[in-house]
C-alpha cells in the first residue's frame, strides 16, 4: 500500500534555531495521524513543509507520492489545507468562497455544484451558503474551511490545530464532523494538536517535543506502554490508608483531589486484593487507565502545560525574528 506521507531525516533551521531536528515517519493511506506537542515544538513547521509552504533545510518529504520540493504543484493539487488562522474572505458568502477555491484548484465545472452541496451538507452549512462569511460564528467558519479544504477531493487533508480558539462544545462538534468525514471520504488526515483529548481520535500519534519525535504509536499502545493504572479510593481514615498501602502492599500514595491516589499495574486485579488486605473501611474505588497526559509526561518528563510555559521564550524569539506570516 502506498504511503500517503513519508518523511525522512527532515530538518528545518530558522537562523540558529532548530525548529525541526531530523524526524522520520510514515503515514499510511486512509490513516488519521496526529502530531501532538506543545506550542513551539515544531508541529507547525513540519506541517508547513509537508504543505509546500516552507522548504526543508535538509532531508526529504513525500506527500501523496510526490516530493514536496521538486513536485510542489502536484503535491498542492492533492492536498487540502485548514490553517490555524482563518483564510476566508469574510465579505463573500460561503458559496462564493468555495467557488473561488474551486476555480483556483481547477475543479471541473460540472462537478462543482454537486460537490459543493455534498461538502456543505457534511459540515451542516448548506442552508447558510448564501450568507456572508462575516456573519458566521467561529465554529461555522472553521467548518466552512474544512468543507473548502475537501472541495477538490484531496488525497491528504492537513488540519493545523483545527479546534484552537473554539469553545469546548464547538470543539466537540468539529470532531463529529471530522469523524463523519473519515467515514464518508477516502482520505488521509494529518493533524496537529496540543489537546490530549483530541489526539485520542487519531489512529496513530507522534509526540513531538523540541523538534524531535519522542514516541510514535496508536494512542492505546502508547498508554499501554506506561503500564500503570491510576486508582483512587475514598476511605474512613486517609492517613491510615496511606500507611497501610505502604506497609501491606508496598505502594506509594498521596491525597489528590481529596482522594487517596496511587498507580499500580493492572488496577482491576489489584482492587480485590485491596479490599482483602486494607484495615480501614473503603467507601468507593475508581480505576482509570493512563491518559495521554500521563504518556506525554512519561516521555518528556513534564506535562504539556509545563512544556508550553518553558518553550514560550524560545517561541517568542522565533516569532520576533521571522514574523508570523
Amino acid at each position: 500500500m502506498a504511503k500517503a506521507i513519508s518523511v525522512s531525516a527532515l530538518t528545518k533551521k530558522y537562523g540558529e534555531i532548530d525548529a525541526v531536528r531530523g524526524i522520520d515517519f510514515e503515514v499510511a493511506a486512509g490513516e488519521t495521524f496526529g502530531f501532538l506537542g506543545p506550542n513551539g515544538a515544531g508541529k507547525s513547521t513540519t506541517i508547513k513543509i509537508l504543505c509546500t509552504l516552507a522548504d526543508p533545510t535538509s532531508g526529504s518529504a513525500r506527500v501523496a507520492g510526490h516530493d514536496v520540493v521538486r513536485e510542489r504543484d502536484t503535491v498542492r493539487r492533492n492536498i487540502g489545507l485548514v490553517f490555524q488562522d482563518t483564510t476566508l474572505d469574510s465579505y463573500l458568502t460561503g458559496e462564493q468562497n468555495l467557488r473561488f477555491h474551486a476555480d483556483l484548484y481547477g475543479v471541473p465545472k460540472a462537478a462543482f455544484a454537486p460537490r459543493l452541496r455534498q461538502v456543505l451538507e457534511m459540515v451542516g452549512l448548506w442552508e447558510r451558503r448564501g450568507s456572508v462569511v462575516g456573519t458566521y460564528s467561529g465554529g461555522m467558519q472553521r467548518r466552512l474551511e474544512i468543507a473548502r479544504g475537501l472541495l477538490h477531493a484531496p488525497r491528504v487533508l492537513f488540519l493545523d490545530e483545527p479546534t484552537v480558539g473554539l469553545d469546548p462544545q464547538t470543539r466537540v462538534s468539529i470532531w463529529d464532523y471530522i469523524n463523519e468525514l473519515k467515514r464518508r471520504e477516502d482520505i488521509t488526515i494529518f493533524l496537529t494538536t496540543h489537546y490530549m483529548d483530541e489526539a485520542e481520535n487519531c489512529d496513530r500519534i507522534a509526540i513531538i517535543d523540541h523538534g524531535e519525535i519522542v514516541a510514535i504509536d496508536t494512542p492505546e499502545a502508547l498508554k499501554a506502554s506506561i503500564g500503570k493504572d491510576r486508582v483512587q479510593i475514598s476511605t474512613a481514615d486517609d492517613q491510615a490508608a496511606i500507611r497501610a498501602l505502604d506497609e501491606v502492599f508496598g505502594v506509594d500514595s498521596g491525597v489528590h483531589e481529596g482522594l487517596v491516589t496511587f498507580s499500580v499495574e493492572s488496577g482491576e486485579h489489584f482492587v480485590p486484593r485491596l479490599f482483602a488486605g486494607m484495615p480501614v473501611a473503603i467507601r468507593s474505588v475508581s480505576v482509570s487507565r493512563p491518559s495521554l497526559d500521563d504518556v506525554f509526561m512519561s516521555y518528556t518528563g513534564k506535562t504539556i502545560r509545563d512544556a508550553e510555559a518553558s518553550i514560550g521564550d524560545r517561541n517568542r524569539r522565533i516569532a520576533t525574528r521571522f514574523g508570523r506570516r
Binding site: Q96, L104, P108
Partner: protein, 302 residues
C-alpha cells in the same frame, strides 16, 4: 482518479446524496486554461466586493466632485482672464479631474492585497496550484475594472463641465481610463508585495498621490512653466495620460485652433512635441513593467 457522470444539481435529493459515495473530483493537470480560470475568479472577486461596497463607490467620488465644482467654480472668475472666450475653467480641468477619479480607487484596490494578507485570504491564493502571475494579473485587471467603473460614473457628469457626450470621445476616454487604472493598480500591487502593514501602505499612497496629481498638469497647461516645474511635470507619469485625455476632449469642442494650442499644447521634450501614441505607449509600458516586478515579487514570497 476518474470523473463519474454527475447528475445536475437539482436532480439530487437529500436521500440520494446521503447514499451516493463521495463525488469524485479529478483536479486536472495544470494548464494555461486553468491559470486563465484563476485570473478570471480573482478578477470577479474584486467586482463582487465592489458591488457589495456601495459606500466606497460614493466616497471616492467626493474628491473629484469637490475639485470640479468647488475649485472649478471658485477659480473660474479668476481663471477666465487667462482663458480664451467661450472656454469654461471646469472644461479645462475636467480631463485631469477625471484621471483623478480613478487614482485613489486603483491604488486602494491594490491595498486589498495588504488586507488579504492581514486576514489570511492571501494565503488561500498563494497555496493554490496556479501560477503566481495568474493571481497578480487577476488582481490588476480587477482593480482596473473597478476603478474604470468609478471613472465612468464621473464621466456621466461631463455635461456639467460642458464636455459633449460624443460616443467616440466617451469611448476614447474610457479606453484611456482603463489604461491608467491598470497601470496605477499594477503600481499599487507592486508596493503591496513589499509593504505588509496597511497603515504604511496608506501613508505611502498619500505621499505619492497628491504630488502625482498636482504635477500632472491636471489643473494648468504644460507650456510657459518655470524650468523646475517643466522638468517635474515631464517626470510625472500621470502627465502622459492627462495630456491625451485633454487632447481628446479639446478635439471635440468647438473652439478656435489657437485656443486649443494655448490650453492643450501637448507634452514637449526639449521643444519636441511627444506624439499622443508615444505618450500612451509610455503609460502602457510602465504598467507592464510594474506588473512584471509585482509578479516577480510575489513569486519570491512563501
Amino acid at each position: 482518479m476518474a470523473t463519474k457522470d454527475i447528475p445536475a444539481q437539482d436532480t439530487i435529493t437529500d436521500d440520494e446524496l446521503a447514499l451516493t459515495e463521495t463525488i469524485r473530483v479529478a483536479v486536472p493537470e495544470r494548464s494555461v486554461r486553468h491559470d486563465l480560470r484563476a485570473v478570471s475568479i480573482v478578477w470577479r472577486r474584486e467586482l463582487i466586493r465592489f458591488r457589495t461596497d456601495r459606500l466606497r463607490a460614493i466616497t471616492s467620488l467626493v474628491q473629484p466632485v469637490l475639485f470640479l465644482f468647488v475649485l472649478g467654480t471658485g477659480l473660474s472668475t479668476l481663471a477666465s482672464h487667462g482663458l480664451p472666450a467661450g472656454v469654461d475653467f471646469k472644461t479645462f480641468i475636467y480631463p485631469g479631474v477625471l484621471a483623478m477619479s480613478v487614482l485613489f480607487t486603483s491604488i486602494f484596490s491594490a491595498a486589498s492585497i495588504v488586507w488579504d494578507r492581514e486576514f489570511g485570504f492571501l494565503r488561500e491564493m498563494l497555496v493554490a496550484p496556479v501560477r503566481r502571475w495568474a493571481i497578480v494579473v487577476g488582481k490588476c485587471l480587477g482593480g482596473a475594472t473597478v476603478a474604470t467603473f468609478q471613472g465612468i460614473i464621473f464621466l456621466a457628469l461631463a455635461g456639467v463641465a460642458h464636455v459633449p457626450y460624443d460616443p467616440l470621445l466617451l469611448l476614447t476616454l474610457v479606453g484611456e481610463l482603463l489604461l491608467l487604472s491598470f497601470t496605477l493598480t499594477a503600481f499599487g500591487v507592486m508596493m503591496a508585495a513589499r509593504i505588509k502593514q496597511i497603515q504604511a501602505f496608506m501613508a505611502l499612497t498619500q505621499l505619492f498621490v497628491l504630488p502625482l496629481f498636482f504635477l500632472s498638469g491636471a489643473l494648468y497647461p504644460l507650456n510657459g512653466l518655470p524650468a523646475w516645474l517643466t522638468v517635474l511635470t515631464r517626470i510625472d507619469p500621470l502627465t502622459y495620460i492627462v495630456d491625451p485625455m485633454r487632447s481628446a476632449v479639446f478635439s471635440h469642442l468647438s473652439v478656435s485652433p489657437l485656443a486649443v494650442h494655448a490650453l492643450s499644447p501637448g507634452i514637449t521634450w526639449f521643444g519636441w512635441v511627444v506624439p499622443l501614441g508615444l505618450s500612451l505607449a509610455l503609460v502602457a509600458f510602465m504598467g507592464a513593467a510594474m506588473l512584471a516586478i509585482a509578479i516577480a515579487e510575489f513569486r519570491k514570497t512563501e
